[in-house]
Amino acid sequence: MLYPPQINYERPESISEALSLLNEHSRPFLIAGGTIGVLNLKRRALSPDLVIDIGRLKELKGIDFRDEKYRIGSAVKIYEIIDSEFNGPGFSLLKKAASSVGDPLLRNMGTVGGNVCIGDPSNDLPPALLALGAELNIVGKAGSRNLNISSFYIGPYRNLLAKNEILGSINFAEPGKGYRWFYYKHYIRHLDHSVVNVAALAKVEGKKIDDLRIAIGGMSVRVPTLIETSWIKGITAGQEELQRVVKLASEKCLCLDDRHGSAEYKKNMIEKVTQMAFLSVVGGVL
């Protein structure tokens, strides 16, 4: 039977109280929705001296849109993204990624912040947030700092949050009119870690690409990764450009043979989904 070890549990009333608790303990552990946190406690992967439940902190709630920018509190539940009324291309991309998370019950439990912080390469929101150029607002005792999500992950299940910091909110600009978006997740069985997921946004003016952003995640890469595509700006995309983007994506493959597939299969799938994403957002230009 899976059972958590004996724990101490606190549910602070404010971020500043949560930060004090983090600083006062040597092995504190944050949970928001707890879908992975409680599971890891049950698996005895952790033995914290305090479990700090930040899932209900008002300061970490709410989705706001101001000056063409979204602010999503880290404790917003995945379902709240899906149910939200925002429907610009950028937010629609995030909605699609959110509806790909687990199942409806898990989406009622899990939070956006938990999804971003775990650093599981196969999580659904990070590729979408990478394509959106999201800034993470991170709070600590000394104040807050902003970090682009593209430099947040330093390895599988590892990120740049310090032990005594909390992810406060996720912020990104709505790319707005004229952008097309695409999200796709490839998995073997439902609720398995995905083999590869891809998120893309593009704006094409006339026949020229004005902006293209593609990010990939999944068990075929080390960390969720943005593909370098700034060179494509102003170019009329053809087969050559498509092949170059596909090659740049496949270079990100952490191609290991494991239960998620053979190295060759993973590389092929990265190429395939990148091609799908490119064709979908760049559209009829080719």
């Binding site: 724990i7 707890g34 898990l106």
Partner: protein, 153 residues
């Protein structure tokens, strides 16, 4: 630690160990054994209950996290009307075999039908995608939920 919960419209105040899981609080402390434990890892959905009106997997939550919430388990889902339309439809069409998955599926499907008037088959399959059934192959369950959706509330 002290927690206060409302379960199937009854208030409960008690002292629990912080590590107590919500599902074990319901089953062992309150004796509501209709909520089942299958995988223990958030995959199978047999532990599904409504938490503040939304279905969740109670094996992935501490009872402490649910402090102050309203919970509905399978024992309370039909609001005193015997069986609700999903339960009736499943039972009339004999859609289940062993029945282990039943309480989770009834909770998820009841909640889904309350918010979706005219679902199609793929909506129902998506709504039940967090609930595993090892016996039936799902088709009879999906059909029963679709039939229930056609009944007037």
């Amino acid at each position: 630690m002290k927690i206060k919960l409302n379960v199937n419209s009854e208030d409960y105040t008690g002292d629990v160990e912080p590590r107590l899981l919500l599902v074990d609080f319901l089953r062992d402390t309150l004796g509501l054994t209709g909520t089942h434990v299958g995988c223990e890892t958030g995959s199978c959905g047999s532990c599904t209950v409504l938490l503040d009106g939304r279905p969740v997997k109670s094996c992935l939550m501490l009872a402490a996290q649910a402090d102050g919430s309203r919970i509905i388990t399978i024992e309370g889902i039909s609001k005193g009307e015997g069986m609700n339309r999903v339960q009736k439809s499943i039972s009339e069409s004999k859609a289940l075999q062993c029945g282990f998955c039943a309480s989770g599926i009834v909770i998820a499907a009841t909640w889904f039908l309350e918010r979706n008037e005219n679902p199609n088959e793929s909506d129902v399959r998506e709504a039940l995608s967090g609930n595993i059934c090892r016996c039936t192959g799902y088709q009879p369950i999906v059909d029963a939920v679709l039939n229930a959706s056609k009944e007037v509330k």
